[in-house]
Symmetry: C2
Subunit: 267 residues, 2 copies
C-alpha cells in the first residue's frame, strides 16, 4: 500500500522542495516507484525536475478544481520509477476558488485515490503556509515529515506546525502521524546545531507517552549537510543524483531515502 | 530627515530579520539613531533583540489598529542609539481586522509620522508575504532593501517582488525606490553564488534606463557570509555585535552599515 507523505513546514526556505525532490529521487533509485506532487504555486519542485510550469497541458491545479478531471492526465513520467504531478502559477488562486466548496480540504485526497496503486511512495511538496493547500496535503497524507533547519529561530515555528497537524488529525484525518523531522542545511560541526537537535530529540522523547500525532516522531538520520551542489542542481532541472551522484548532498539524501524506505510505520 | 527602509522579501528564511537587527545595530554603532520596527507576527526581530513578545504592554499592533494610539508608547529604548517598536502574535489578525478600513495601507505611515524626528534610520522587518502588513511597510517607506540568497531558486521570486513594489510606487507611494539587494548567507567561494550575483547585477544595469523603481538599485557590498554565530545570537537575545563583535558576520554587517550610511540616495 502506498506511503503518502506530506513534506510540510510553514516557514519558508527550510528545504521542503530540495527534500521532496531528492528524497523522491533517492527512493526511486532504490527501486520504489515514487510520485512527487508539487502543491506549491511557486512550482519549485516542478522547476527543480526540469519541467516548465508555464508549458503544461494540465497540472495539480486542474485536479483540485475539477473533481471530474483525472489527475493521471497531469502526471508526468520523468524516470522509470519517478513521476511528477506538477504545479502551475494558477494554483495561487486555488485557495480562494475553493474557499466555499464543502469538500475543499479533501480535493487532493480524492484526486490521488485512483493513483495509489501505481506508487510505493507519494511525496507532497507543500507551500510555506498553513492554508488550504497544506490542509489538503494533511488530509490526503498518512504521514507528515518536517524539513527544518537546526537553528534557534527555526524552533520557534514548530509548535504552531504541530498544533495544525493535531487539529487535522482530530478533524479530517484521524490516522495522520508525524513520522519525524529532516534536518536540512545542517551545520554539523557547530555546538548550536547540536543543541537544537538535542532540544528536538528531548521534545520527541517526552511525546512518546502522550496521545499526540508526534508520539512516534524522531529526528531522521542522517541530517542533510549544507552543500552548494544542492542549490545548483535546480538551475539545471536536475536531481542531485543526476548532477553530482556522490557529493555530500547526494550521499545524505541517498542514506535518508534508505532510512525512510526501511522503517516500519507504527500506528 | 529620516531614511525609512523596508526590508522585504516574500520568500521565507532569506535573512530579513537577521539583516534588520544587525544592520540596525551596525547603524547605531556608527552613531545613527535607529528604530527597528518589527512588522512580523512571528516577532522574530523582537525575540532577536531579547524582548518577550508575550510580555508587552503595547506593540506595533496597537499602533496599527488604533489611530489614536501613540506608537511612541510602544517604542522600547534598547541601547543609546537603538530602539524597537516590537511585534506580538496578535499582529497575525491585523490583516483581517483592517481589511475593510479605507486607510488600511497607511496605518503604519501615520503611526510613524510623529516619531521621525527622533531617528536617522527606521528599518522595517517585513513578514514573508506580500499581504497588508508588507503593503503598510511599502507605503510608509521611502526605500526598499531586499535581503536574498545567492541561489537559483531565490531568483525565481524577485520578479513578483519588484512588481509589487512597482504597483505600490504607482498607487500609494510615488517616491518609493528599491535601493538594492543584500546578499545573505552568501557562499562566496562558489561559482553558483558568483553567477547569481552576476545575473542580478546585469538585471540592475539594464534597469538604469527604465522608468522603474529599481533603476538605482544595486547589489550592496559586502555580501553577508554564512556564519553560524548569526544563527546563534538570537537565542541569547543579542545582536551580533554584543555576541561576537569581530566574527565574520559582525564584520560584514558593520561594513554594510557603513556602505548604507555613506550612500547618497538618488531620486
Ligand atoms: N543542504 C543544502 N545545502 C545547500 N543549499 C540548500 C540545501 N537545501 C536547500 N538548499 C537551498 O536553499 C534554498 C531553500 O531551499 P528549498 O527551496 O528547498 O526550501 P523550501 O522550504 O522548499 O522553500 P519554500 O518555503 O520557498 O518552498 C534553495 O535555494 C535551495 O536550493
Ligand atoms: N549569514 C548567516 N549565517 C548563518 N545563519 C544565518 C545567516 N543569516 C540568517 N541566518 C539564519 O537563517 C535563518 C533565517 O534567517 P532570518 O530569520 O533572518 O530570515 P527571514 O527572511 O527573516 O525569515 P522569515 O521569512 O521567517 O521572516 C535564521 O535561523 C537565521 O538565524
Ligand atoms: Mg519549496
Ligand atoms: Mg524574519
Amino acid at each position: 500500500r502506498s506511503r503518502i507523505i506530506a513534506l510540510m513546514n510553514q516557514k519558508g526556505g527550510v528545504g521542503k522542495t530540495t527534500t521532496t525532490v531528492n528524497l523522491g529521487a533517492g527512493l526511486a533509485e532504490l527501486g520504489h516507484s515514487t510520485l512527487i506532487v508539487d502543491l506549491d504555486p511557486q512550482a519549485h519542485a516542478t522547476l527543480h525536475l526540469g519541467v516548465d510550469p508555464d508549458g503544461l497541458e494540465s497540472s495539480v491545479y486542474d485536479a483540485l478544481l475539477d473533481p471530474e478531471a483525472s489527475a493521471l492526465d497531469a502526471v508526468l513520467e520523468l524516470r522509470p520509477k519517478l513521476a511528477l504531478l506538477p504545479a502551475e502559477v494558477n494554483l495561487a488562486a486555488a485557495e480562494t476558488e475553493l474557499a466555499s466548496a464543502p469538500d475543499r480540504q479533501r480535493r487532493l485526497e480524492s484526486a490521488l485515490e485512483p493513483l495509489l496503486d501505481l506508487f510505493d511512495f507519494v511525496l507532497i511538496d507543500c507551500p510555506p503556509s498553513l492554508g488550504l493547500l497544506t490542509l489538503n496535503a494533511l488530509a490526503a497524507a498518512q504521514e507528515v515529515v518536517v524539513p527544518m533547519q537546526s537553528h534557534f529561530l527555526a524552533l520557534q515555528g514548530v509548535g504552531k506546525l504541530l498544533e495544525t497537524v493535531r487539529l487535522v488529525s482530530r478533524g479530517v484525518n484521524e490516522s495522520l502521524l508525524v513520522s519525524g523531522v529532516i534536518l536540512c542545511m545542517h551545520d554539523e560541526n557547530t555546538n548550536h546545531a547540536r543543541e537544537v537537535v538535542a532540544d528536538l530529540e528531548a521534545f520527541f522523547e517526552e511525546a512518546k507517552t502522550q496521545n499526540v500525532p508526534w508520539r512516534h516522531a524522531k529526528v531522521y538520520r542522517p541530517a542533510v549537510r549544507r552543500n552548494i551542489k544542492l542549490a545548483e542542481c535546480p538551475s539545471f532541472g536536475q536531481t542531485i543524483f543526476d548532477y553530482a551522484a556522490w557529493c555530500p548532498g547526494a550521499l545524505d539524501y541517498r542514506a535518508l531515502a534508505a532510512s525512510i524506505a526501511a522503517e516500519r510505520i507504527e500506528k
